[in-house]
């Protein structure tokens, strides 16, 4: 059984002055029970992260992501689903592994923090351990309202020669379409200031969003940009140790709704607390 919940606060000083204040949002990302039936199949029931693309499932945690801003196309698919999922990964041959996930979700409107849509979908990917390349595709069918389809493709690549990770994703639905490409490079091979430079990571992302068949207001309600948008982002991360990093980034967003600067400064800290016995195996 595993779970993740989020608390997010946005605090600002009121226009007329006074103490800082603002809302704190709470969200249950997943609360799922996994049953590893055999080496090829895991059955998951409960609330789970929707396996559409790679960002939502693999790159979302703040201690993993190299840039703190979400990609523009992230809301194009449901971020969490309530239902059942079958998933697994297995080697096809010595050079390729196949991974898959198929799921069905029920509609849930009782609580705003536990909402989900009635949909079905799946993702399939092929990972080549040699060149460390993975490519895959996702699909989702909404079984309510407009009964619309969403689909997407993703790729990842990790260089074996230099400490470079690349990810990319494309997604399309009636709400819009778009892509993002990002990369993160650890400066561990820099010939100077080795002790500090090996802890430093340079990251960048380029992305674009194209408006779909819904109104600007409806798009904003989904968390999408209200108009065609382009964005470039550049970040510097410093790993104090493997569970603690300082993050900074600057991005520039170009949109017919108005251009904007996006600044991020923060600390990401990861820790694990054993809740049960941790004796020898």
């Amino acid at each position: 059984m595993e779970s993740r919940a989020e608390f997010q606060g946005a605090f600002q000083r009121p226009p007329g002055g006074g103490p800082f204040g603002g809302p704190v949002s709470k969200n249950l990302d997943y609360l799922q029970m996994d049953y590893i039936a055999n080496p090829y199949l895991t059955v998951t029931v409960g609330r789970f992260l929707t396996p559409f693309g790679i960002f939502n499932e693999r790159l979302y945690p703040i201690w993993i992501r190299s840039l703190q801003q979400d990609p523009l196309i992230l809301p194009l698919s449901a971020e969490s689903s309530d239902g059942m999922m079958l998933r697994g990964g297995f080697p096809v041959n010595a050079k390729a592994n196949l991974n898959y996930a198929v799921y069905g979700s029920a509609v849930s409107t009782g609580h705003s923090n536990l909402g989900s849509d009635r949909n079905v979908g799946g993702r399939m990917g092929v990972f080549l351990p040699g060149p460390r390349v993975e490519v895959g595709a996702s699909w989702q069918k909404l079984l309510q309202n407009g009964r619309t389809n969403a689909f997407g493709f993703y790729s990842t690549w990790q260089s074996q020669r230099v400490p470079l990770n690349m990810h990319s994703e494309y997604a399309r639905s009636n709400q819009g379409s778009g892509y993002w490409v990002d990369g993160a490079y650890r400066l561990s091979q820099a010939p100077f200031w080795q002790r500090s430079m090996r802890r430093l990571e340079v990251a960048g992302r380029a992305e674009q969003f194209f408006s779909g068949q819904i109104s600007s207001d409806a798009a904003r309600a989904f968390g999408l940009p209200g108009a065609n948008t382009r964005e470039g982002e550049f970040g510097l991360n410093y790993y104090l140790h493997d569970g603690l990093k300082a993050v900074t980034s600057y991005g520039r967003q170009f949109s017919s709704d108005g251009n904007a600067n996006l600044w991020s400064v923060g600390i990401a800290y990861r820790f694990a607390l054993p809740l049960g016995g941790v004796g020898q195996q």
Partner: protein, 98 residues
């Protein structure tokens, strides 16, 4: 209606194929493989590190050392999250605990 039938057939077909394919090895959790000699242990550690870099290193650095039972829980969680294979999971666990 036709879509529902197709989807139900696809899911049932997938379950059947996977259950049939899984007749031989059964996965009862991430048990660490046992090395017969120190040379084999070294080879398994190296292979485990290679699998770690290929699978886990794509997203994050190696975590700090935890007790083996705790690490087994973490690896089981990550196996599901990252859909890594059973063999990769066992070798990564060996590398992380031995």
């Amino acid at each position: 209606m036709r879509l529902k039938i197709i989807l139900a057939s696809a899911v049932l077909g997938l379950i059947s194929v996977l259950c049939a394919a899984a007749n031989s090895p059964r996965s009862d959790g991430p048990t660490t493989p046992v090395a017969q000699s120190s040379a084999q242990a070294d080879a398994m550690r190296m292979e485990g590190e290679k699998r770690f870099r290929a699978n886990c290193g794509r997203c994050h650095a190696a975590p700090q050392k935890f007790p083996p039972r705790m690490m087994a829980t973490i690896v089981r969680h990550m196996r599901v999250r990252a859909t890594i294979t059973d063999e990769d999971m066992r070798l990564v666990l060996y590398y992380m605990t031995q």
